[in-house]
């Protein structure tokens, strides 16, 4: 089979004024018109000056039928814009796309669901929005209900559904659309493990049936497991494409700083990611002797530090750290609420520090993701794979454990050897 998705020279330009300021008001437009003669007098042009911003530039991709392709990249790299163009939500500024077959998109969970309507009603509504005919929905109805495991709640308004059930139903409808091309944007972030497995299974099934899946995800493990190929977007351009394992390793290596420390803002408290409450200043890793280090001794404990500036008095603030392995597999997540509970923080600079025990992580490259939020209310910042560090084998005393063992963990487990028979 030939290419089902082919793009050439694809680009999308946003005007900065709109991208930042959102919609325009009539007053702005009227002022712009009124100012046009002046501009013409001064610069010989009637058009208002505007800053262009290319969200996507010169992207040429071919995807074959039956391929499962992962799209990775930092926030703002153009992944979502790419998917939006493929799903026809927005038009490209340059280039063209040729799609062979029906396109189904699962862009955000429950888009098109109405909270007041029942599960049954929403299946029909959402199906119609996704482009299914009523007959088709009726034919697939039982299967959708079964997949979503929402049988007993069919006549309940979906606003009373648990978030898990909501997601299941949304995915079920989209997955049963039977499109030739399925676009999936970051849905696997939600739902429990069992459901995620089910979704992955369904996507695999879709691919085996000769259909094509395009998956945007920050979940590197899912991309590695599911995809035949990864597309790496960087600053609006397609940087590289190839086997997922290889591309992900390169991508992660490019995003993280090494050197044991990364600064996001300067003394004035501006510039770092954050909100009106808190701004991230730095992430660093310290050895147990208190030195900032990018290479750590496998036997010794070390500290991961998040330094931030509180701009307004807060309570209930949570700062978290996630460690992941070189391929993006998340090893653990931990937050300062584990220890401190609720804490009032007055404006000023703070450090939340956690200690990672020695002889826990095996030798290799690890990434630190940090985040800060009011739980369930507001996320202040989330920096994916912001810092990288190495766990190195150590010689000298105790060197007997620094052999080439496999696995991500390196625990010293108690062993006993005894003879239990003749």
């Amino acid at each position: 089979m030939g290419a089902v998705i082919a793009t050439e020279g694809l680009g999308k330009r946003y005007l900065r004024t709109r991208a930042v300021g959102g919609y325009r008001t009539l007053r702005e437009s009227l002022m712009e018109w009124a100012a046009a003669p002046v501009r013409w007098w001064r610069r010989g042009s009637l058009a208002a000056p505007s800053e262009d911003f290319w969200a996507l530039q010169d992207v040429g991709v071919e995807v074959q039928a039956g391929e499962v392709v992962g799209v990775i990249g930092r926030n703002g790299a153009g992944k979502s814009t790419f998917l939006k163009i493929l799903s026809r939500v927005t038009r490209p500024t340059t280039g063209r796309v040729v799609l062979e077959g029906r396109v189904g998109s699962l862009l955000e969970v429950g888009t098109g669901f109405h909270p007041e309507l029942t599960g049954r009603e929403n299946i029909f509504l959402n199906g119609a929005i996704l482009g299914m005919s009523r007959q088709e929905i009726r034919r697939q109805f039982d299967e959708i209900v079964e997949f979503a495991e929402c049988g007993p709640f069919l006549e309940t308004p979906v606003k009373r559904y648990s978030s898990g059930m909501y997601v299941r139903l949304a995915f079920a409808v989209a997955a049963h659309l039977e499109p030739e091309i399925l676009l999936v944007d970051e849905v696997l972030a939600v739902g429990d493990a069992a459901f995620q497995r089910k979704c992955l299974g369904k996507m695999g099934q879709v691919a085996r049936a000769g259909r094509t899946v395009l998956l945007v995800s920050h979940n590197m493990a899912a991309v590695t497991r599911l995809c035949d190929r990864a597309l790496w977007f960087d600053h609006g351009r397609l940087r590289e494409s190839g086997p997922p394992g290889e591309i992900i390793t390169k991508y992660l290596a490019s995003t993280a700083e090494e050197g044991g420390e990364v600064w996001y803002s300067h003394a004035n408290g501006n510039g770092g990611p954050g909100s009106e409450y808190v701004r991230l200043e730095a992430i660093r890793v310290r050895s147990d002797r208190g030195l900032v280090a990018s290479t750590l001794d496998i036997r010794r404990p070390f500290h991961v530090e998040v330094q931030y500036r509180i701009l307004r008095r807060t309570s209930n603030l949570r700062v978290g750290v996630r460690l992941s392995a070189h391929d993006g597999t998340v090893l653990l997540s931990t937050t300062d609420m584990d220890h401190e509970g609720e804490l009032v923080r007055e404006p000023g600079v703070f450090v939340s520090r956690c200690e990672v025990p020695g002889e826990l992580l095996n030798c290799g490259l690890y990434y630190v993701t940090v985040g800060c939020d009011f739980p369930m209310v507001q996320t202040h910042f989330l920096v994916d794979h912001g810092l990288a560090f190495q766990i190195a084998p150590t010689g000298g005393a105790g060197g007997h454990i620094s052999d080439g063992r496999s696995g991500l963990l390196r625990l010293q487990l108690p062993w006993a050897v005894e003879q239990v028979g003749a």
């Binding site: 007053r27 063209r96 796309v97 077959g101 955000e108 888009t111 007041e116 309507l117 509504l125």
Partner: protein, 277 residues
């Protein structure tokens, strides 16, 4: 399923300025228009205690207010007859709700528009469709009053559905125009209620089409308003009076211009909707 087929080939290219409506595609998504309408109706009736009762209650209360204040107290000719007043308010309410709902529909469907592709026209069309349902429900009261009073319509009754269709087209034209304008300039959100009120005063809902003795200025305003001719024709069809053919024809012509303008502008903005909504 044949209409979707497996060999659908789509080409996506940059938008090309002014274009006509893709009627073929809209036809393919006709069920979506139906579902949008069905959703609007269901949700409204589920969220409110009186449900469908509101569709009748709103014009009925307006009829009472108009009859009492305009008819009995201000002695406006014709306004003291509840049936006459209701026969004006009913089509007006249909037009006003359809226009306002359609005008706001794109913003309320913002999440949908920025996430999924479908012909965007389905959204305002669904909103107008929901107003049709309200209109049918509210008509029950009119039929009831006519039976009770023994008003027997003649052959001219066949004009009534035709007039209603033209009013619907007017609402689609104004609604799509306002919807697209509202997305581009949020100011229009505040313009819609004001426009509706202003338009109501310029429309002979409680008085007959050409108020006797009014200044030529007012007469011109009423004449330029397509709703004047349409409501006069609606009443004439209902009560078997002399059909104002001239007014109806000029109103219909004006509606066609509004419709074409609204749809064209909507189509022009449609491609960039997801970027600016």
């Amino acid at each position: 399923m044949a209409e979707y087929g497996t060999s659908v080939r789509t080409e996506i290219v940059p938008s090309r300025g002014w274009q006509g409506i893709d009627a073929h595609e809209l036809w393919r998504f006709r069920e979506l228009v139906y579902f949008m309408m069905w959703r609007d109706v269901k949700v409204r009736y589920k969220q409110t205690l009186l449900g469908a009762g509101w569709a009748v209650l709103q014009p009925a209360l307006m009829m009472v207010v108009f009859t009492v204040f305009l008819g009995v107290m201000a002695k406006v000719p014709g306004a003291n007859d509840p049936i006459f007043v209701y026969a004006g308010i009913l089509p007006w309410t249909f037009f006003a709700t359809a226009m306002a709902n359609a005008g706001n529909s794109l913003i309320t469907s913002e999440r949908l528009i920025t996430k999924i592709y479908f012909p965007r026209l389905a959204v305002p069309l669904g909103a107008v469709g929901a107003a049709v349902v309200d209109f049918l429900v509210a008509s029950v009261l009119l039929v009831g009053m006519m039976l009770w009073r023994g008003v027997r319509p003649g052959m001219s009754l066949i004009m009534v559905p035709i007039v209603v269709v033209v009013i619907g087209l007017a609402a689609i034209g104004m609604g799509t125009l306002l919807a697209a304008l509202t997305v581009a300039y949020r100011d229009f959100r505040y313009v819609i209620p004001f426009l509706t009120q202003f338009w109501l005063f310029a429309t002979p809902t409680a008085y007959s089409a050409l108020p006797v003795g009014a200044s030529p200025w007012v007469q011109g305003l009423v004449m330029a308003n397509p709703l004047s001719g349409l409501i006069a024709a609606f009443r004439a069809g209902l009560f078997g009076e002399h059909m104002p053919w001239g007014l109806l024809a000029s109103a219909t012509a004006l509606v066609m211009v509004i419709l074409a303008g609204g749809l064209l502008y909507f189509r022009h903005v449609e491609d960039s909707l997801a970027d600016i909504v």
